[in-house]
Amino acid sequence: MNANGWEPVIGLEIHVQLDTRTKMFCSCELGFGEEPNTRTCPVCLGLPGTLPVTNAQAVHYGLLMALAFDCEIAPRSIFHRKNYFYPDLAKGYQISQYDIPLCTGGRLGDVRLHRIHLEEDAAKLVHLGQSGRIHGSDASIVDYNRGGTPLAEIVTEPDIRSPEQAGDWLKLLRVTLRQLGVSDVNMEEGSLRCDANVSIRRAGTSELGTKTELKNMNSFRFLMQGINAEIERQIGLVEAGEAVVQETLHFDPVSTRLSPLRSKEEAHDYRYFPEPDLVPLAPTEAMIERARAALPELPAQREVRYAASGVAADMARLLAHDARWGDYFEAAAAAGSAEPRVVANWVAELRGRGEPSDVEPAALARLAELVAARTVTSGNGRVVLDRLIADGGDPAEIVEREGLGALGDSGELEAIVARVIEQNPDVVERIRGGNAKAMGALVGPVMRETKGRADGGEVNRLLREQLGV
């Protein structure tokens, strides 16, 4: 809720490029960064006489999303033609789903989904000259490599109440889609694109205000900036007694400002009608079962499971939302007897230093066990981890070879503590004089003397014991 009692109401429309082998309606392999117009065929170039054939893998991905988000799967969904003229549209229409999408309803986290449908992407236009747009460009050239790439459009209900919630939810969506393996979900490269519908209303009311549609926010930061700017703009308008006009706004990442798209560009009558070249999409039980069997554990489910096993909440979220590290954590936890909570901390240590491939999960598990058993201190455990990253090997052998083992009950630590007390009479005096903080001036030398092999808590205990404080 905003200051002044305004409540933002936000819904998102997300386009996800599906990471299929071939395009949505032809057998061209997907291509990113290839020479322009090398990943094309008569079908995706819209040559006369060609016909679309629906990509089974894209449908499978659609079903994976439907199951992951608990959507209702349409028994017969229909592809429509969305007609408009533009050079990035080879056929003069986009094949998309309209009134009967593959998936309706569903939920992810705290946001309900309205629908998910399948469609094809447009080609890429490059405008030469100053304007950067087709109007007023010196020339415009078309790269049809992207044309026909499968897209899923995910539309939420207007359940989001703040720019931060929008950003967090989009991150959850991204990790979930990544875990599903349906897309590489990269906002900068455009495989994940997010538009936002924004309106405001008085807090406590339930009517929806006039919404605007925000486009071109191609990073999480821009998404939040754009929504934030639009909320403030709308509040400013309404508080000045003006009305919000329903329009499409373009976010400029340089100025972080929103400007209306020319009304001519949005005043389309798309003349939707059922695509006569395709039969209805009717997923069979076998197709749905195949998707169910392929459904991985999702980030939200992992997070709950990790937290239940004792992993700290922030660590559980971190590992669950990054499948690479989550998988690594699972392998390490299964490889040894250390508690998941401890293993998770060591995975975090590794994550701060390198990649999962740097250390065998079993070696990390062994390290966690050594620290848990107080064979090695936490501090020297980090030294062992550095050795593991650099040279690999067995943690116990590294401890042995490098003399990193924790000091036991041999009396060695007591002797060092006694020596440090003897060497620092002035500090001892300050401590006895009631300055408890001065204790640190004794801990440091002890730790140096022991080369990190002493447990900090034990050093403190012995110092207090010998000083009688």
Binding site: G49, L51, P52, T54, F85, K91, I134, R271
Partner: protein, 473 residues
């Protein structure tokens, strides 16, 4: 040489395959190629210089085939009768044509047609009208007018065309040959330059019913490149039936009375008499919604066409108007100059019918009528085996006679439009002459009844004994 040209395609194919020394595939090719090259009817838009390599031992025996311009043929002009595709040579070949080549029929040439298959007289071609071989002052029908005229005039042994509202059957009727529109989905549409996707279907135009069956047998089949293709449940067989005992022919009162020219109606009744003599029973019946077929057709087909023809925008291939420095100018001038009047008329009709606020009243309503027409036929099959009508309400008319009256022109399809709307097969066979011009008889059956239709048409053909040789002279 004349001996070769007198043979039907199936006879020639059989003799070539049997190794008959009197019938050589190369000589047959040369004979037809010479006649096609000397075309005086404007039936061909392109004729092959030399025969492509095909295997004459295939079922089609090396007998060359003429192909309607709108079938894409690799490296060969495929312009769909439109100036907007002038000089367009596709990088691939339509599935139907590939199947014919694989079955042993080399491509003889591409035939003229109404632009994008929109027309019933072939006067809408961007490459000039086709003349009727029976009377060169008259139209051959359309839109597959070039294919029909080529076969009727003996410039091609056989040909293929496409039928959306009658575009195979009506020109076949006006040229005195056989034409068949198969069940929707029997033949792949891949590589057919689309007019109206939910109606377009390829089929044969041939000298007789046996040729029709043989050519069709090689065309049909499901195609992974066409999601709407199914093939046929059983292979197409060569017909042999000579009687019609037990066959019930339904005569729908809506399509056999008002609006049919007297000469056509006389020939129709004579054929019914012959059918009765062959053992058939003639059953008066109703197709109550069939008269609304034309109205529904002229909403649905233009609607689909308005979308199918959006790709001709000057950006990628074909004609582009010069001189524009902005996108809208290039689009509008390219389409203004590239499309003919009838195509523009239908694009506008279709765009309107799909527009927001009008969709339900036009496209939605037309689809309902379509369903009702299909239901009429389904009910009919409970009491009759086939529905029979004249194919065309009239014989070939004079060039220019109907160009100023669109509705009169559209009425040509009155008897042929209900079948594609219902997706069902129908054949047209010549059944007589009226005023020196051929008349035709149409046999319609349920979906996938091609073999039964061919048997029935064959029996009638034998009894009628139509002689089309005058047009080949």
């Amino acid at each position: 040489m004349t001996d070769l040209l007198d043979l039907t395609a199936a006879e020639a194919a059989a003799r070539i395959r049997a190794g008959d020394v009197d019938v050589d595939a190369g000589e047959l090719w040369a004979a037809y190629r010479d006649r096609a090259a000397a075309d005086e009817l404007n039936a061909f838009t392109w004729v092959a210089d030399e025969a492509p390599e095909v295997d004459p031992s295939g079922p089609l025996g090396g007998v060359p085939v003429a192909v309607k311009d709108l079938f894409c043929t690799q490296g060969v002009p495929s312009q769909a009768g439109s100036r907007i595709l002038e000089g367009y040579r596709p990088p691939f070949t339509a599935t139907a044509v590939e199947r014919l080549t694989a079955a042993g029929a080399p491509l003889l040439g591409k035939t003229n047609q109404d632009e994008f298959a929109m027309g019933s007289s072939n006067e809408n071609s961007g490459y000039g009208p086709v003349l009727n071989p029976w009377d060169r002052a008259r139209v051959p029908g359309g839109s597959s007018g070039g294919s029909a005229a080529a076969v009727a005039a003996g410039m091609a042994p056989w040909a293929i065309g496409t039928d959306t509202g009658g575009s195979i059957r009506q020109p076949a009727a006006l040229c005195g040959i056989v034409g068949m529109k198969p069940t929707y989905g029997a033949v792949s549409r891949y590589g057919m330059i689309a007019f109206a996707s939910s109606l377009d279907q390829a089929g044969p135009l041939t000298r007789d019913v046996t040729d029709c069956a043989l050519l069709l047998s090689a065309m049909v089949g499901a195609d992974p490149c066409d999601s709407t293709s199914l093939g046929l449940p059983e292979p197409v067989a060569l017909p042999s039936r000579t009687d019609l005992r037990g066959v019930r022919l339904g005569v729908p009162e809506e399509l056999t009375g008002e609006g049919i020219e007297p000469g056509v109606l006389d020939a129709f009744r004579s054929t019914l008499d012959l059918a009765r003599e062959l053992g058939a029973s003639i059953e008066p019946m109703q197709l109550p919604h069939a008269p609304h077929g034309l109205a529904a057709y002229y909403v649905i087909a233009p609607a689909e066409a308005s979308s199918n023809l959006a790709r001709y925008d000057g950006v990628r291939y074909g004609f582009r108007a010069d001189g524009d420095r902005d996108l809208l100018g290039m689009y509008t001038h390219t389409r203004e100059a590239g499309f003919g009047a009838e195509v523009k008329r239908r694009i506008m009709l279709g765009t309107y019918a799909l527009s927001s606020g009008y969709y339900d009243a036009y496209y939605g309503r037309a689809q309902k009528v379509r369903t009702l027409i299909a239901d009429d036929f389904r009910r009919a099959w409970e009491s009759v085996d086939f529905v029979v009508t004249p194919t065309s309400p009239g014989v070939a008319f004079e060039l220019g006679a109907k160009t100023d009256d669109q509705w009169a022109m559209y009425l040509n399809d009155f008897c042929t439009v209900p079948m594609p709307l219902a997706g069902i097969p129908a054949i047209s066979i010549p059944n007589g002459m009226a005023g020196g011009l051929p008349t035709a008889f149409q046999v319609t059956g349920p979906a996938f009844s091609e073999n039964r239709i061919l048997e029935t048409a064959f029996a009638l053909e034998q009894a009628i004994g139509f002689d089309g040789s005058a047009a080949r002279a």
